[in-house]
Symmetry: C2
Subunit: 273 residues, 2 copies
């Protein structure tokens, strides 16, 4: 194709790189597509990277070597992440969300693309360095945020089910005690993950931690290492035994009946850079 | 903030616009953020729009008037969409995916972010003009593609459940006949949608159409108009009564036991522009 002007090439490169976060793309492919020398493309990338960083919009990372290239990653600016989660916390603290029995209505928040995208960017940014091979979630409400995190990290989403399903093939089932005292089942297809992989657990809510511990046992069955866990909301009261490598986005206390409901961003958000 | 060069401004604008597809953003906000005149920004937008269209990467649309501004939308180039779905069809036709009973293992495809993103872009692009207010899906396997479609359209995702859940509040339940002759239930929280809204149904699979008709009845209960339906995969044999306003991505025939499994892109894909 014909050569195009730098301004237009930068717009096209931005679109391609940003639509596939964390995917390393080779300079050769761009060089061919835009009939541009690699040195010219390097200058383009430096301009894009500078513009993104200066505006707190992300970063380009250049990977040297034969398998190298360039990749886009969101960059979470700590006070912006904190402000965003403070805003989401306020939405979650609205009294109208409290359902009989002290349950919180979350489905609208967990299906709002702007909110889910923002939360997923923060989760993805905080775990890139651990290089997980896939995201694991438990059906159903955590799937949207888990999927968008998988998209930002460019790794597959794996969904554990409440029971085995014929269209998942042979599966490993485990039983685990739920917070309510009953025994629940989770099931994962044998094909879904491989021995030796690294998992990042992403889900909507942690209360007593029963489901989280169930997911950890399930990963043990598959000889998969869990590199981290992120929940959108973590219950603060009553206090629970913390889970190792947990970075949840927000904490809540109170049930809106005996005690007012309070939601706040997690402390690590204000400490991350 | 300081003025920045056009090249950098274009990179930053591209990132902001493309991270929020279908959201109308006002020139005033950009004007303030980048200390740039609106006429300058109009030129920037024209450059970005031209670069995107020339490269089949999307488009910017300018909305005039007081509530106006500019929005990014993916633009599906028909032969690229066709090639992409031909490639996905080939992945789905692999003999190793056939499970006992003729079921297809789809979970890896439905959790692969690059594939889900590509399918969601095609679905979103084909329904923008119908202006749905939300995406409706039935748990579980369709949620990732439904969520990413919701993201591209900038509208909420609403998930119907197999049973009512305490954390969804009061719900409308309906019973519907499934393809297997049994009666199934679906449940949707009363708060999830409003009278008079427009729904786009997105799900992974349609065989006999029982679940789809269940979702249509559910929307009737809420006085919601269904403007369209898109399924990732639609079963061709045995033939079923077509559903009005259905645009599925791929069709399949055969069960891999008595007849070889064949998957192919839908015909409307090759006709869309």
């Amino acid at each position: 194709m014909e050569k195009i002007k730098r301004t237009e090439r930068i717009a096209a490169l931005s679109r391609i790189l940003m639509s596939r976060p964390n995917e390393v793309m080779s300079f050769s492919v761009f060089s061919e597509r835009f009939s541009a020398a690699k040195s010219t493309l390097s200058e383009d990338m430096a301009i894009i990277d500078h513009a993104l960083r200066e505006n707190g919009l992300g970063q380009l990372q250049t990977i040297p070597g034969a398998a190298g290239g360039v990749r886009f990653r969101p960059l979470i600016v700590k006070n912006e992440a904190y402000n965003f989660l403070t805003w989401v916390s306020a939405l979650l603290s609205e009294p109208g969300r409290i359902l009989p029995g002290g349950y919180l209505y979350l489905s609208d928040i967990l299906g709002n693309p702007a909110i889910v995208r923002g939360m997923s960017e923060i989760i993805a940014s905080s775990w890139y360095d651990e290089k997980p091979d896939f995201i694991l979630t438990m059906e159903t409400k955590g799937i949207p945020v888990a999927m968008m995190t998988a998209d930002f990290m460019n790794i597959p989403l794996v969904i554990a089910r409440r029971q085995s399903r014929v269209y998942e093939g042979s599966a490993v089932n485990i039983n685990y005690p739920s917070g309510k005292g009953s025994i629940e089942t989770m099931s994962l297809s044998r094909r879904a993950v491989k021995d030796g992989q690294r998992a990042l657990i992403v889900d909507d809510l942690i209360r007593g931690g029963g489901t989280a511990r169930g997911l950890l046992s399930l990963m043990e069955e598959f000889s998969v290492e869990v590199v981290g866990l992120s929940f959108v909301l973590s219950q603060d009261t009553p206090p629970r035994k913390p889970i190792e490598k947990e970075k949840s986005l927000m904490f809540f206390s109170g049930d809106g009946e005996n005690e007012p409901l309070q939601v706040r961003p997690a402390e690590w958000i204000t400490l991350s850079s």
